[in-house]
Homo-oligomer: 259 residues x 2
């Protein structure tokens, strides 16, 4: 369950058994559920807690007054929503459940205590927060420069790798409970065009996507087709040797970046 977060953080650093216990306890606090499509936090709210997603998918999104919606980020199990959130007065966006969801609230005090007593965890949480904004930057590139085909492929690569980092993949497969409408709102495309583009991706044998199940037969091929470079996920740290979950190792060329 909540060792998903531990899995993820260990990409970056090795945690002591005590560290792990602390993280495991975090998720024992106030735990909540929401149904699909319900909001967890709304734009304008004063943020009160950091939320740790235990189960289900959520997203950060923003609405324009005329009804356009942009999904700004996806949250998968093991993700933290807004580590930093206490400084700002009001949320400038909403967070909503995409599927039925379970999450744990982490209070300000709990977080403060962890941060003052457990430097390894603290550093790892920072790393996680920084990767989150690196992802946001990559989304900017995705929306600004990539074609519909590349854009969707890129998003699928990213989510697959993130799921793999927490241990939620089985070989080259994973659950993928996102509708085409939601993919459209995340990629800035139309539902119709997402549909056609997914068909193209299927046609080229790059993905298999039925129902809520995704298979990426050849991840490297999909990465290439999507102009994907995993640099931005910053998984290349101390712990990353342990990252060979499911017998696979990060694929694209993250070592070769000369001076």
């Amino acid at each position: 369950m909540h060792n998903l977060l531990i899995n993820k953080l260990e990409q970056f650093t090795k945690l002591s058994p005590e560290d792990k216990q602390v993280l495991a306890d975090v998720a024992r606090g106030r735990v909540w559920v929401r149904g699909a499509r319900e909001d967890i936090i709304q734009e304008g709210d004063k943020p009160t807690c950091v939320n740790l997603i235990l189960k289900g998918w959520a997203c950060r999104y923003k609405m324009l007054p005329d009804g356009r919606r942009q999904i700004i980020a996806f949250f998968v199990p093991g993700d933290l929503c807004d580590l930093h959130v206490f400084v700002l007065r009001a949320m400038d966006h909403s967070i909503g459940a995409l599927t039925p969801i379970t999450f744990a609230e982490i209070s300000r005090e709990t977080l403060r205590n962890i941060m003052s007593d457990h430097p390894r965890i603290t550093e790892a949480l920072w790393w996680d927060a920084l990767v989150t904004v690196a992802i946001q930057r990559e989304w900017t590139v995705n929306l600004g420069q990539r074609s519909a085909f590349e854009r969707l492929g890129h998003l699928l690569c990213e989510l697959f790798l993130r799921l793999r980092a927490v241990g939620l993949t089985q070989g080259n497969a994973c659950e993928f409970p996102v509708t085409q409408t939601e993919l459209a709102d995340a990629t800035g495309l139309t539902t119709v065009h997402v549909n056609r583009t997914l068909q193209e991706l299927r046609g080229e044998g790059l993905i298999e996507l039925h129902g809520k199940h995704l298979i990426i037969p050849d991840l490297e091929a999909l990465e290439t087709a999507s102009v994907f470079n995993l640099n931005y996920l910053h998984g290349d740290h101390e712990g990353s040797a342990l990252d060979a979950r499911n017998g696979e190792i990060g694929s694209a060329g993250q070592r070769s970046r000369g001076a």
Copy 2:
């Protein structure tokens, strides 16, 4: 010069004279210059310092292997590049000068000292960092949902307001040393289309842009036309009453966000 940063931070909180002195001293350290188009930091580099832009404009950008470039963020005087940068091993993007530029390096130790001795400054720097990522989120919305016309208008609003926050506007005018090619790389459009769209904006009387000089005759009109909502700049804090620089006050409806 470097009281630009002070101006900006005072949007958020009131700083003591001592705080201000500390910030003023920061920019006395190692100061560098770069010519237009030179890089300050390159993708793959190990980041070593936080940079404070003193003069000139810069940008964060990412290249795709085939030459496509996305500008991910603009930096104007008073902006800090990457407060947080020490945790990650390698830059996943580059920072380049758009104009000839002057910037001050702030070392890890200096920063650490400030953070341990000056809680007001620390909090204000946090606020600044969080606003930076809020801007990144808004860019996602901009690229994903807005038309070319809205997109450019939105960008101009944002930059104008950011310049105003540091005191670099004169009434409804400001310097705007960005080429159409750079605007294109920031908005995910073509140079050609940026050119035509700017003409449209001029045609509607929403902007005047010649050479390196921008005038926004009616900011509120431009905001409306661009579906701009200044929430995301989070300027509505303690110090914001002092924000009436140049006799103007923030315009759009940031108060009205009902429960």
